[in-house]
């Protein structure tokens, strides 16, 4: 796992702007969205996003110039939907679903399903606690290998 001691201040600032835009728009911004806000060129935004991707500060699509994950938010539809702050969000996994409420500092409702039987699961988060405490979370990949393949993780 690479860690971020060398992350450039300008890249961090662009990352923070990208996250802010994600939350304001309700979906992932494009390189053109960020270029328009910053005055940078789309190529410059993309180059910064590439460095942030390499530092695990966000995750890019492998074949297009688009964001795949701005954890805990997902830029693509997933099995983990969260209604929070008067809007629906996609999360990358169960951990991130709770993370959406955490990042936004709001209560929320998570809509998912049991990965085994497919039965719908609805969990309300109120005051940072789930209302169904009988559910379980299982993680297959050990922590030291989460970023080997973050999409699989």
């Amino acid at each position: 796992m690479r860690y971020h001691f060398a992350m450039d201040d300008d890249d961090v600032a662009l990352r923070n702007l990208t996250y802010r835009q994600f939350v304001e728009l309700g979906h992932a911004p494009t390189v053109h969205d960020i270029a328009a806000v910053t005055g940078a060129t789309p190529d410059d935004v993309w180059a910064s996003w590439r460095r942030l991707h390499d530092d695990h500060a966000l995750v890019l699509q492998s074949h297009t110039r688009e964001i795949r994950m701005a954890n805990p938010f997902s830029a693509v539809p997933t099995a983990y939907r969260v209604f929070a702050d008067d809007r629906w969000w996609y999360a990358n996994c169960a951990w991130d679903a709770f993370g959406v409420c955490a990042a936004l500092h709001v209560d929320g409702r998570i809509e998912a399903s049991c990965a085994d039987c497919g039965d719908p699961i609805t969990v309300h988060v109120r005051d940072e606690r789930p209302d169904d405490e009988g559910l379980l979370f299982h993680c297959v990949v050990p922590a030291g290998r989460w970023w080997d393949d973050i999409v699989f993780t």
Binding site: H4, D96, F98, C114, A115, D116, A143
Partner: protein
């Protein structure tokens, strides 16, 4: 990183695959708030591995499964 109704459902889903780590959804929610709570703060800075490990350890996630340094070629 999935949700399940019970241990039985996890076992059935895993089949012959090796098991990972299971925690309650209550613990998961605590972890999510500790981990992601600062994610959209305007002055967000990346955490070090040690800071991330401290979050896990602070929630009692201390066994080898939760060791962020394992297999880390860039400490």
């Amino acid at each position: 990183m999935n949700l399940f109704r019970s241990e039985g459902h996890i076992g059935r889903w895993l089949g012959s695959r090796a098991s990972g780590a299971t925690i309650s959804v209550t613990k998961l929610c605590e972890l999510a708030h500790a981990w992601w709570g600062n994610r959209i703060e305007p002055n967000w800075r990346p955490r070090t591995r040690e800071q991330n490990q401290a979050i896990l350890n602070g929630l009692g996630l201390t066994d080898a499964f939760w060791d962020l340094s394992a297999a880390d070629p860039h400490p």
